[in-house]
Symmetry: C2
Subunit: 274 residues, 2 copies
């Protein structure tokens, strides 16, 4: 593991690190915020998965999350959204290939050799983090924005007892019924069963074994692609412990994410500490 | 004036606007955050001046300032740092020309026709803002980072009774004695008197008619260029109403700025509302 940068931030430390990823077959970069409390021992950790076109950096610099994580004494992990490199498959479209890993393990050509973001976020990166940093594996939460909200919800429901809570900002909620989903799942998975990678279908099938918080902007320019109504319906039908909030006037930007970040960090902190 | 974007943010609105600037002889872009309270009438306004290489956008997306401004009910203005355009003089160096206006009115060639950031921030942009938006001209404060801290301090001391308070993050504090200063003041002003554009010299000569707050990271990679010790000495010697804080472990980045933004917004709010 290589340290790319470390900056003091809210009495803790915002680091950026790279490492050779076996499952992605390339070097991967991630951000990690450690609160001051990490000097004295392991702290809870909140995973933040980013959206289409993002890297590890977007939320780390634009979401204002460190202020609240420092207040709560929890760490934040910001993984990248795909493998990257000149010798790695890509597509001209912003929503396929590099920057658009969709948190699945690709099985189709040309994506299969590198695009294993599901295993990367669920297995390889956690193993590295819990070995290298003072983080408590028994106190994990997960959140994300857009494609990252999709990743957070599907990973959480597929790993019962792993995450204490899950939340999402404007998640791609029903990708098997959306152009943000069918295109990518077709490319990465071919005609395999996609249901593991659809938060609405997973909510219908299994739900989540803890509290769920969803925020969605009512003026989001991508509402037709996100399909929040499908997830809201599925949460209510399952009697899922959770909150779905439609936020009047907000769009899909980080101005929306940063506005409600305090609530999400507090929501996860509550699951860690209560 | 043209609206480039408006995003709902912390119950208020983050806008980006452009307008034809007479003093800069080009279109200029600025960001403006209006809190919810602006719907009911004029609100106080805090000016944020950015540093070298920055545009109107950096602090607007990376400083986390809107959270605290919304809480306090004050507006934030984010001007650009220079005139911009293909037909406007520039330099290959990052610290001269476009992105490096240094908050002066250039009198030397080739800069004089467009580089009038002093008049832009002190006169032209305020006139536009107070005409177009619900902002209270009698409740203004000013802050900034690095070159923007230099601008905030020098503008504040040159305009008594204009700003209720002034603060700065790692300001270029003594530019007439630094390579961040002598180079730019030589280029823009030639051998004219530079003292108006040196915060330490102005602190020695006149001081500020209100409270001053300075934050400086002790591990700032640019300490030799910033020369905080000169300003600290001058503040103390003048018995200036103010606080100078050396922050252990912090560097020059926005991770430093965002860490102390809450304190700066609260400091200005205190000057507005008490």
């Amino acid at each position: 593991m290589k340290t790319l940068s470390e900056n003091r931030c809210f009495e803790g430390k915002q680091g950026v690190y790279s490492h050779a990823s076996e499952v992605c077959g390339c070097d991967m970069t991630f951000g990690l915020f450690l609160p001051e409390e990490a000097r004295d021992g392991p702290v809870p950790v909140l995973w933040y998965l980013s959206g289409l076109t993002c890297t590890h950096e977007n939320a780390m610099t634009k979401a204002g999350a460190q202020a609240w994580a420092a207040e709560a004494g929890i760490a934040l992990v910001f993984p990248d959204t795909s493998p990257r490199g000149d010798d790695i498959a890509d597509d001209e479209a912003y929503d396929l290939g590099q920057g658009a890993g969709f948190y699945v393990n690709a099985t189709s050509s040309p994506w299969a050799p590198h695009f294993s973001m599901w295993d990367y976020v669920a297995s390889e990166l956690p193993a590295l983090l819990f070995q290298e940093f003072p983080l408590d594996p028994d106190a994990q939460g997960i959140t994300g924005h857009s494609m990252g909200g999709h990743g957070a919800l599907t990973l959480a429901m597929a790993h019962p007892d792993r995450y204490r809570a899950v939340s999402a900002f404007a998640p791609i909620a029903n990708p098997t019924q959306s152009d943000w989903g069918r295109k990518q799942l077709s490319a990465y998975l071919g005609d395999a069963d996609w249901s593991t990678h659809d938060a609405t279908l997973q909510m219908q099938a299994v739900g989540f074994d803890g509290p769920v918080l969803i925020d969605q902007g009512a003026d989001d320019q991508f509402l037709d692609l996100l399909k929040p109504e499908a997830l809201a319906q599925a949460m209510a039908a399952r009697r899922q412990d959770g909150i779905f909030r439609m936020q009047k006037g907000y769009d899909h930007s980080y101005f929306f994410v940063s506005t409600f970040m305090e609530d999400h960090v507090a929501f996860h902190a509550d699951a860690f500490f209560s």
